[in-house]
């Protein structure tokens, strides 16, 4: 049985480096997240209408809190649903 390091591949195994995530708010200088703007907030929700975690949305902590506050306000005012299927 060939040992692990003896196996040679034809092409070198290239683990593609995914692009560095950035906080879109810092980059574009957005300071206020409007809870009335459903289209923009939908980018931070998954299909079931649940909020995306920071590691996926790539937001910094300060803006992730502002986004979650805005989403909760939008849900309260029935602009965004609490739970749904096929939100997009």
């Amino acid at each position: 049985m060939a040992k692990q390091n003896e196996i040679k591949f034809l092409t070198t195994q290239r683990i593609e480096k995914r692009p560095k995530k950035f906080c879109r708010f810092k980059k574009m200088g957005i300071r206020y997240i409007d809870y009335k703007d459903a289209e923009f907030l939908k980018r931070f929700l998954n299909e079931q209408g649940k909020m995306l975690p920071r590691r996926i949305s790539g937001n910094s902590l300060k803006y992730q809190r502002k986004v979650s506050q805005a989403i909760k306000k939008a849900r309260q005012m029935a602009i965004l649903p609490y739970v749904t299927d096929l939100l997009k």
């Binding site: 300071r31 206020y32 306000k73 609490y82």
Partner: protein, 121 residues
């Protein structure tokens, strides 16, 4: 506290029952904007979205008449406003949010953008 207590930026959003007729909707808006004016507040901007479908049914209704009002007011006005809104049964949901300076700048920019697109188109 300063003699003339400082005016805070607030944004009030109301959802009226969809069964409201047009002029009831109008004078309901007027009622609240006048209420704010005579209690020492100033109206910055008001925006009636009209009939919109709700994301989930509230009180068995799936649509509602939205109304957004941005105003400057002394801080104790909200308590009175709250009583008014709870008493008024045509309102199915209301929310008052405090606007910090970025929010006020955002609303201003948004309005000026709308105006420019309006007279542009």
């Amino acid at each position: 506290m300063a003699t003339e207590n400082s005016l805070q930026g607030y944004e009030l959003m109301l959802i009226f029952t969809p069964v409201l007729s047009e002029e009831d909707y109008k004078n309901a808006q007027k009622k609240y904007s006048d209420f704010i004016k005579d209690n020492g507040g100033q109206i910055v901007h008001q925006d009636a979205w009209g009939l919109r479908s709700l994301a989930y049914p509230i009180q068995k209704k799936t649509t509602g008449m939205y109304y957004v009002l941005e105003f400057q007011a002394p801080s104790e006005l909200n308590a009175k406003l709250e009583i008014q809104m709870n008493r008024d049964e045509t309102i199915i949901r209301h929310m008052v949010t405090r606007l910090d300076k970025y929010a006020v700048a955002y609303n201003l920019r948004k309005r000026s953008k709308n105006l420019s697109t309006e007279n542009a188109s």
